[in-house]
Symmetry: C3
Subunit: 139 residues, 3 copies
């Protein structure tokens, strides 16, 4: 059994920008030479989240629209009154979707479905450079 700490770096444009990280995670899994185990993806920050989705153009519009419906950007939040950075909506969306995703792999392949991709969603209100923590544990 081994533990391997890795990361992925990428740029995002904020406002529920979705990045498909599936090939990046798969590539690092191949390089690790691990066959069976889990990879834990973790967002080290409070304005981004990870989940899975069928990464096609329709859902890339639907998911941000859902976030806007559930947690509108323009509503007044206590966070904004405190800090003045106007991204209270970003923090709430991130806490709702969650910062962590654990995916098993077997025979050196992620156990994803055919039409299922790993996505990072940047909920912040500006473009950013992001680093996602990846930790592989297995044999």
């Amino acid at each position: 059994m081994k533990v391997i700490n890795e990361s992925l770096e990428f740029s995002t444009s904020g406002f529920s920008d979705m990045k498909d990280l599936t090939s990046g995670v798969s590539r690092i899994l191949s390089q690790s030479r691990l066959e069976n185990g889990i990879v834990t993806l973790f967002v080290p920050g409070s304005t981004g989240g990870v989940t899975t989705i069928e990464f096609e153009p329709g859902l890339q519009k639907d998911f941000p629209e859902l976030m806007e419906k559930l947690i509108p950007q323009k509503k007044s939040y206590h966070h904004d009154a405190t800090w003045g950075d106007d991204n209270g909506f970003s923090h709430l969306r991130a806490s709702l979707i969650g910062p962590s995703l654990t995916i098993p792999f077997s025979h050196s392949r992620l156990t994803l479905g055919t039409w299922q991709q790993i996505v990072f969603v940047d909920f912040d209100n500006r473009s950013r450079s992001r680093t996602l923590t990846l930790q592989f544990m297995g044999e």
Copy 2:
């Protein structure tokens, strides 16, 4: 430390149909002879989710009604315009609830509460045969 790849197969009727998988997961844990570790449940698909709930008849109605309130089936989604399969709501519900659940076990027992059950929720718009990935890691 060992890694054991398993799965559970079952039929679902869609439209937020909830399946209690607690006894199935516990049975496979017993067969594994592992004592301490984690089990990762993962949905290999983009229209189902896993969480826990008190699996009683009232909440089996309340949870689907909540999904319908937050992400209505009949709303027009970009996904449906692209693919014509009318299950945009299914994909969004699945991304919101999430495809992965990690549960520790100790002394060969899942650390669930007394009134807490593991549920798979099928958000698709038709009946399906489902396979849930289970991976046990422990000693």
Copy 3:
């Protein structure tokens, strides 16, 4: 590789009361002497959840208000008709946020962001004593 079962105990006041558990989890990680691995936090109950948030006074009001908007306390739920304990909203909020959170650590430190804290949210409708399951796995 080792597996270490631990727990955290604390009191909560219900109604989306949020507890910052970051220092408690970090302390137990230090005592474990593990350097690389994951900690899985798990709520053994069906009326609490775990996520991360920037734990500042504004968001400590915003998050409960979001829960009240998405899943109002005073709405009539089937669960309450069955059991009469009036906490249907608590169960639904817990299933939405989820009972499980997996966080990698490396060099004996949690991979959290600077402004990101681990929070337990008690969604029940009364004060309670809570025990959160922590399981460390690593080397």
